[in-house]
Subunit: 218 residues, 2 copies
Amino acid sequence: MPARQPSKPRASRQTPEARPYHHGDLRRVLIDAALQLASEGAEVSVREAARRAAVSPGAPFRHFPNRDALMAAAAEEAQRRFRSEIEVALGQAPATDPLGRFRAFGLAYLRWAMRNPAHFEIISTGRYFAHGSSPELTRDNAELIALTEQMLADAAAQGLLRSADLKRIQIAGRALVYGFARMNLDGHFPRWGVDEGEIERMAEGVIDLFIAGIAKSA
Amino acid sequence: MPARQPSKPRASRQTPEARPYHHGDLRRVLIDAALQLASEGAEVSVREAARRAAVSPGAPFRHFPNRDALMAAAAEEAQRRFRSEIEVALGQAPATDPLGRFRAFGLAYLRWAMRNPAHFEIISTGRYFAHGSSPELTRDNAELIALTEQMLADAAAQGLLRSADLKRIQIAGRALVYGFARMNLDGHFPRWGVDEGEIERMAEGVIDLFIAGIAKSA
DNA sequence: CCCTTATGTAATCATCGATTACATTTGATG
DNA sequence: CATCAAATGTAATCGATGATTACATAAGGG
């Protein structure tokens, strides 16, 4: 090991490989490590995240009271990315076409879920941390739901829908998209997933089928 | 402890509380314990199942090579119950009405999933054991899927469907029903679950909406 | 400068899945 | 019966994990 002067406490200025005692932004690094582990298909453990951050196994507990809190923080980060992508997609959809916006929303939703399955699972499953334990996640999700309700209300106002039961349509739409994402996650799409774009095309087809089903006339 | 005659090897005939060395049907008891644990919301551990069977922590591994194998066996048992209930429902639906059978199938599927959420998860999620590791489960599931495909083909043959893309309809239907079940599982139905039947009524409504969407005319 | 607070380490614990060596039963075969 | 091999259960142990505790080190404000 490199020579260490015991009388000089300023460790931050030591040899290059001498890591300073304090990490800098361990909390953030742990969240990133957790998301990274998940996306690699590995199971997320606090210790492995600590290992990746080159820090002792107990260190993470200075930033998170328990494993669930780390997962909740990771979920919040993932949700920010998810939501950001959806908002970009909606920003390109004309406000005058509510069903078009509905479609764009569903496409962006599924696109992200197909490409970030592990992160989607962390966000949605409530297995890694207690369901209502993250107000940010709850509020964020409620806002997304409110968005879709607004689109359906607009569509109904323009007389575009066959049924007036918006609640039912909204639940069905959520179930359809959520179910498609989870089928992908849970391995229910066998080997026509060899073509990367195949699943995403099917997602598009399913969304279009649904919209055609709720839209007035043909 | 009760007197024990060391010269008499016939342990099965001892005092009432003296458990025989061999359990009798440990394999089955372990599977039931696993399903019981899951339905109680507890996480299933091999040790806890062994505890409930009043057996040593190593005993289960005489019947299952590892935890996943136990979960797979539990999944197979759950799938039998699931499938049995669906077949009963289909037995009461007239063969001449394919869309009615489709509806009955979806209702039975969701009814069981709503009432046995933990077991539904074990069957469907592929998190407790490798996905293709149970041929029985795979085959069983494929048969259920084939059932729905047949219904849709019959409906198309009778000219009941608006679209000829049966594959797309079938995937959408699966996603819808699977998504609804998983939303319930993952806690996406907040507190209008207080009324027990409320969710099941919503499930019915969603299925009807879907069928109305794919059926020809109105 | 000192002292409080934040943050990291080391050591330790209980639980879990899994393996190994050993003990007990069962049941087939002679 | 008697014997022995196979099946099944136990005890002890291992490595990994989440979590806690006591202690060490750094940072920053009086």
